[in-house]
């Protein structure tokens, strides 16, 4: 079960207001329009289902409406004349029986994404339609008739269904499940590295969305009196999908707009003797417009408008104050050095790590140790295998030779999200989740039982002042720091930080060095820092490992290693070669030969040093 963290009160209040006003308006409508509103509310529940999978988790599943067929068939079979279960109750069974089909759809989604998932789910759409037309499954035959309740009861049933299920989606957004859906939408790797199980996130998203679709399918049977195969006609299903895009069904108001627009446009057009196809053409153009403008559809517009209004009234979240830069680290390096010298336990142990990509050997028999209390620098030219080492250690490679142990326990068999409890990483590219505030984002990544105060303290540690701004409104430098904060909030034994200083000014880089150097003392973990900024490495790291062409060519105290001419040659090799490329290809050849010879000599030395 997802643990409830915090409920989004403004959204719930807005939904409540719309439900009350809409309910009063609906009840005062004529019988015909009340019926139309009921159909609209039922379709809005389909909108919630599409919105969850496509809008929130960003999985391009086209089959959400088709899943509702199971709910429809169940309700038709159970509640038909002389059936075993009367109407409102059969909806629960219908929703529950839809979940297994949703889980079956989640299976391909574990490997298929984007357009590939769209193809497979479109296959499911056609398959469901074929079954619906055949009419062999119990309840699927349109002649199975369910006596519909009065229009008033029907409207209340559909409207309250939307209200309750809409509220459910709002509440779910703030739970671990809801946050995990946003996380996989942003980046599956980043989600796993924050301890989120990508598999669980996808499975829960499909399961909840299937239950919503099953409920909506049942409601459609209540409104139409039978499970009409036309409801699951592929074009009908895709029309609702296009509408979901146009309305931005990821938020409840978008889902509601989808249902209301769809039902009322068809009814209005037919009142004027026009074909509902005209409405569909408008939806198609609208969806293309929304995709072209990347505006997030109706709900995106509503939310932008509200934000602007808030700002106008001076009630919006205040812009983030400039973070205060710290002075250069004073004793951090010494402290770390002392910790290592005192024989602190090993946080991360990599032994004989070899990684091959086809014929290319990315890492060849690499071994290193990160002690608790130290910041170990990992440097080397581009393509040396630094990030591959992090990928292997944190569980992002399909296979490698050698072993990785954290706190003395091997983690080789564990998937990435499980390793994240012990060893965490950041990414070179910024991969925070734009829709969340820094607090929410760090809470998502935090270890179980992390208190709000703890989270604020960690944010303060990386220099992010408290703010209600969402991350997409915060500048990228601070977001990268927050990525480190999220990493620390998982209380890992080892923290692997991948090129955090890209694009920083000298002052900012010094500030970052001070904070990184403080991590071991403050959090008790060992830090492995990949960085090209040698000044930062000098300031933050007590010792350094140098990789070149997938091999360790040097290892030792920072100053000593960085002063080594061989290391300098290896490290600067690429840039020197580039600088002299047009004039001195011969020199380059000599340089690289020298480099290889030196590297060989140094490796021998390292081995003989008993590293």
């Amino acid at each position: 079960m997802p643990g409830l963290r915090r409920v989004s009160t403004p959204s719930l209040l807005a939904l409540l207001a719309v439900v009350v006003v809409g309910g009063l308006v609906g009840m005062s409508l004529s019988q015909y329009w009340m019926y139309v509103a009921a159909v609209g509310a039922a379709q809005a529940v389909f909108g919630l289902s599409i919105g969850l999978v496509y809008g929130q988790a960003r999985m391009l599943s086209l089959c959400q409406v088709s899943l509702g067929a199971v709910g429809a068939w169940t309700v038709a079979d159970l509640s038909q004349a002389g059936g075993s279960l009367p109407l409102p109750w059969s909806l629960f069974v219908g929703a529950a029986l839809t979940v297994p089909l949703g889980l079956i759809c989640a299976l391909p989604a574990l490997r298929l994404r984007n357009i590939n998932l769209a193809i497979v789910t479109l296959g499911i759409v056609v398959a469901v339609y074929t079954v619906a037309q055949a009419g062999q499954v119990p309840g699927s035959n349109p002649t199975v008739f369910v006596a519909p309740p009065s229009n008033r009861v029907l409207f209340l049933m559909c409207w309250l269904s939307f209200a309750v299920l809409g509220a459910l989606t709002i509440v779910l957004r703030r739970t671990k499940w809801g946050l995990s859906w946003l996380a996989i939408a942003r980046s599956e790797r980043a989600a796993a590295s924050a301890g989120v199980s990508v598999t669980l996130a996808k499975v829960t998203a499909f399961a909840v969305a299937a239950a919503l679709a099953g409920w909506a399918g049942g409601l459609l049977v209540a409104t139409f009196g039978s499970a009409d195969p036309a409801n699951f006609d592929p074009v009908q299903v895709l029309t609702l999908f296009a509408l979901a895009v146009m309305m931005g069904a990821g938020y409840w108001e978008g889902a509601l707009a989808l249902g209301i627009f769809n039902a009322f446009s068809a009814a209005l057009l037919s009142q004027f003797g026009l074909s509902p196809d005209i409405g569909t053409m408008v939806f198609a153009v609208g969806a293309i417009g929304v995709l072209g403008a990347e505006s997030g559809g109706f709900s995106g517009d509503v939310r932008r408008l509200l934000r602007r209004l808030q700002r106008r009234l001076g009630r919006g979240p205040r812009p983030l104050p400039e973070p205060v830069l710290r002075a250069a680290p004073a004793s951090a390096t010494d402290r770390a050095a002392r910790a290592a010298a005192n024989g602190a336990p090993v946080a991360l142990q990599v032994t004989g790590l070899t990684v091959r990509y086809g014929a290319v050997v990315a890492l060849a028999d690499v071994s290193l140790q990160v002690h608790k209390g130290e910041v170990l620098g990992l440097v080397g030219p581009n393509g040396a295998g630094k990030s591959t080492l992090i990928d292997a250690a944190t569980g992002f490679l399909a296979s490698y030779e050698g072993s990785v142990a954290v706190d003395g326990r091997p983690v080789d068999g564990l998937p990435a999200h499980r390793r994240a409890r012990m060893v965490r990483r950041t990414f070179q590219t910024e991969r925070t989740i734009g829709e969340l505030t820094p607090r929410e984002y760090v809470r998502l990544a935090a270890a179980r039982g992390a208190s709000a105060q703890e989270i604020d303290e960690i944010l303060d540690f990386v220099g992010c002042p408290p703010t209600a701004q969402t991350l997409n409104r915060i500048d990228v430098r601070v977001r990268r720091l927050i990525m480190i904060a999220a990493c620390l909030a998982g209380r890992p034994s080892a923290v692997l930080i991948d090129e955090p200083a890209a694009g920083l000014t000298t002052e900012e880089s010094e500030d970052l060095a001070a904070r990184i150097a403080d991590i071991p003392a403050r959090f008790g973990s060992g830090v492995l820092l990949i960085e090209h900024d040698m000044e930062l490495v000098r300031q933050a790291c007590s010792s350094v490992v140098v990789l070149d062409f997938g091999r360790v060519i040097a290892h030792g105290p920072t100053a000593q290693v960085l002063a080594n001419p061989v290391v300098q040659a290896a490290y600067l090799g690429d840039e020197l070669l580039a600088a002299h490329a047009e004039s001195a290809s011969e020199q380059a050849l000599i340089a690289s030969e020298e480099r290889e010879a030196a590297a060989a000599a140094l490796t021998t030395k390292a081995v003989s040093d008993g590293r």
């Binding site: 357009i115 996989i184 029309t239 296009a242 995709l291 990928d391």
Partner: protein, 284 residues
């Protein structure tokens, strides 16, 4: 065998559309869900020419093909103008919207009435394995394979092919190299539109006068396109023909009610096998 050969009409159409799908996916990075819908809408113009203007079947067919190229080219223009720099997902989602819109127009135009369709190759048939096979379906199925071979050769051997391949890899870089990306985009769309119109024209006389089945041809063709892993047009063409024949064989059996599900079983199996190693969404 007679049963299998009866599937040539549908199979040939799947094959032609599958070739278009692969071509567009490879060259333009878009999975065109509206492929046969666009062809179907263009094919509707032939009804007008045949029934209202009393043109012969050949001119009516020609008109439809020209309209197919123009209509699809127009969509290509929209894509080139507004969606050149977007992701494959966005572009393909746009074609879903086009599918929905074009189907709505198609429904509106056909409106459930019954029409006579032009059948330029009707009447003659040849004897194969002891059964009469209409020449039309042989021309169609053979044409699909020839088309696949020709387009494959064109892409591999000609300057235009090289430009198209460059464009598919890096549209912006290709533009900087002086390749007229927008014009080529429209050209590929127009070509695919013309071919899909031909495909639909072949199926029209055997199908009912309702529009959605024409739009669904794309979904069946997808199964074929996937057999070629969205890369190989020749495999896609042969696969399309095979799927059509398989459907036709299944039809009289106990599973006949579900014959349309066949391509989708293929789709799901091929997709999952193809992507079985994709544990993560992004490379790094």
């Amino acid at each position: 065998m007679a049963q299998a050969l009866a599937g040539l009409v549908a199979g040939g159409a799947y094959a032609l559309i599958a070739v278009c799908l692969v071509l567009m996916y490879q060259m333009l990075g878009v999975l065109n869900f509206a492929q046969s819908a666009l062809g179907g809408l263009a094919a509707c113009t032939s009804l007008f020419a045949l029934n209202k203007l009393h043109w012969g079947p050949w001119p009516a067919t020609m008109l439809a093909v020209v309209c197919g190229a123009l209509l699809s080219g127009l969509v290509g223009l929209v894509m080139a103008r507004f969606f050149l720099e977007t992701s494959v997902v966005t572009r393909s989602t746009v074609t879903i919207a086009f599918l929905v819109g074009v189907t709505a127009i198609g429904n509106h135009v056909l409106n459930g009435a019954t029409y006579t369709f032009p059948n330029a190759l009707s009447g003659s048939s040849v004897s194969l394995f002891g059964t009469g096979v209409p020449i039309g379906s042989l021309v169609e199925a053979g044409g699909a394979i020839v088309l696949a071979v020709l387009v494959t050769l064109l892409l591999k051997r000609t300057h235009l092919g090289a430009q198209l391949r460059a464009m598919s890899e890096r549209p912006t870089t290709a533009q900087l190299l002086g390749i007229r990306v927008r014009r080529l985009t429209v050209l590929v769309w127009a070509f695919a539109g013309a071919v899909s119109t031909v495909a639909v024209m072949f199926v029209l006389p055997t199908s009912t006068t309702s529009f959605p089945p024409l739009a669904y041809l794309t979904m069946f063709a997808l199964g074929a396109a996937l057999l070629g892993l969205l890369q190989n047009m020749i495999v896609a063409a042969v696969g399309g023909i095979a799927i059509g024949m398989l459907e036709s064989i299944i039809l009289p059996s106990a599973l006949g009610r579900y014959d349309q599900a066949v391509p989708f079983v293929i789709i799901i199996v091929v997709m999952i096998w193809w992507r079985r190693r994709d544990a993560w969404s992004e490379a790094r």
